[in-house]
């Protein structure tokens, strides 16, 4: 499949490319504030930290050949949309902190997959990992096709349960977020096999909002205790 990755950072291109071997992969990275020196510095610093020597070659080749693009402007800019028209992807992956507008979604073939760190349709919105823990529900990641709403896209491709073993909320979230590439790969396999998606019935769930510091303390203390117990057990 021709896969387009909406990626926050060029520094993530090589890991996506490796994981999606067998697919034709394109990347689009945007600097929402245009020519922002901070954006350039962050990209370079992170790339220097992560890249192996051949990664530089791969990234430069992708840019020079026009397979991938860095746009100094927001995702909805004419330059981004022109690139989407040029690539014409079969499917796209979300790895960028933006909300997608109709014009972008419509240019992405089957749609844009998102890896959401909560179980859908039960947990939509913010702080869903923390809310799942507070309510004693399984934690994990749902891969689904987004729409313009907040986690309301109708087609769920898969849910991967992932019990938390970390002792802080930040570490637990990082662990779940880090599953995105592997789960995107699995989701693409599911789609290629023609398995029908599950229905994201929003009436069966709730929209959640950022959790208070008070409740975050409760969840954080619970994680620390569980981590300690787990360490003792093992």
């Amino acid at each position: 499949m021709k896969v387009l990755v909406f990626c926050d950072g060029v520094y993530r291109w090589p890991e996506f490319r490796e994981s999606l071997a067998g697919h034709q992969v394109h990347f689009l990275t945007c600097s929402p504030r245009g020519w922002a020196p901070r954006f350039v510095v962050v990209q370079l610093v992170k790339a220097f930290r992560r890249f192996r020597p051949r990664d530089w070659f791969v990234v430069l080749k992708a840019l020079v050949t026009g397979h991938s693009k860095i746009v100094m402007g927001p995702l909805g800019s004419p330059s981004s949309l022109a690139f989407l028209d040029q690539v014409c992807p079969d499917i796209a992956l979300h790895a960028m902190g933006v909300i997608y507008r109709k014009a972008v979604i419509e240019r992405c073939g089957a749609g844009i997959l998102n890896a959401h760190i909560g179980r859908l349709p039960t947990y939509r919105g913010r702080s869903v990992m923390e809310w799942s823990i507070l309510c004693g529900d399984p934690t994990g990641v749902t891969v689904f096709f987004i729409d313009e709403g907040i986690d309301t896209g109708a087609r769920i491709v898969l849910f991967q349960e992932s019990p938390i073993r970390q002792k802080t909320i930040a570490a637990a979230k990082a662990e779940l977020f880090a599953l995105d590439i592997a789960l995107f790969r699995r989701a693409l396999d599911v789609i290629e096999r023609g398995e029908p998606p599950a229905h994201n019935d929003t009436a069966e769930g709730r929209r959640f909002y950022e959790m208070s510091l008070l409740f975050q303390e409760v969840v954080g203390a619970h994680l620390a205790r569980s981590h300690q117990n787990h360490a003792i057990d093992s």
Binding site: C135, Y209, L214
Partner: protein
């Protein structure tokens, strides 16, 4: 109605946290009397969304609130729905309390604090 209730393991810890929060608040006004009436589920969800998505950023940046009456009415709906079967509502009040500086819309904040205290007492007693 879909429950958003606490894991039994965490219920005591949540109670303790809410008690701790209540202990930091002193009564500053008259007792609160809130009319309870049946409201549509969508209306309550809308009130929660309005407070968390529209009002909260304005409180954080001390920006003017264009419609104080709507804020009051949303607060009343959320306070009335605070219970152990859906913790999102009391947590909305927790978040507003943590966001709302004393000098920002002080008269409205006075009402909010009384209602928040009332909601906490109702859940804890």
């Amino acid at each position: 109605m879909i429950a958003v209730s606490a894991d039994p393991v965490l219920r005591e810890a949540i109670k303790t946290a809410l008690r701790r929060r209540l202990a930091t608040m002193s009564s500053i006004g008259a007792p609160v009397f809130m009319a309870r009436c049946a409201v549509e589920e969508g209306e309550v969800e809308e009130a929660l969304w309005f407070l968390m998505v529209i009002v909260r950023p304005k409180l954080r940046s001390a920006a003017p609130l264009s419609d104080e009456a709507r804020v009051m009415s949303a607060l009343a709906l959320v306070v009335a729905r605070c219970s152990w079967t859906d913790l999102r509502f009391v947590d909305c009040l927790n978040v507003l309390f943590e966001t709302w500086a004393p000098k920002t819309h002080p008269s409205l904040r006075g009402f909010f604090l009384e209602w928040y205290r009332h909601a906490l007492e109702r859940m804890l007693h």
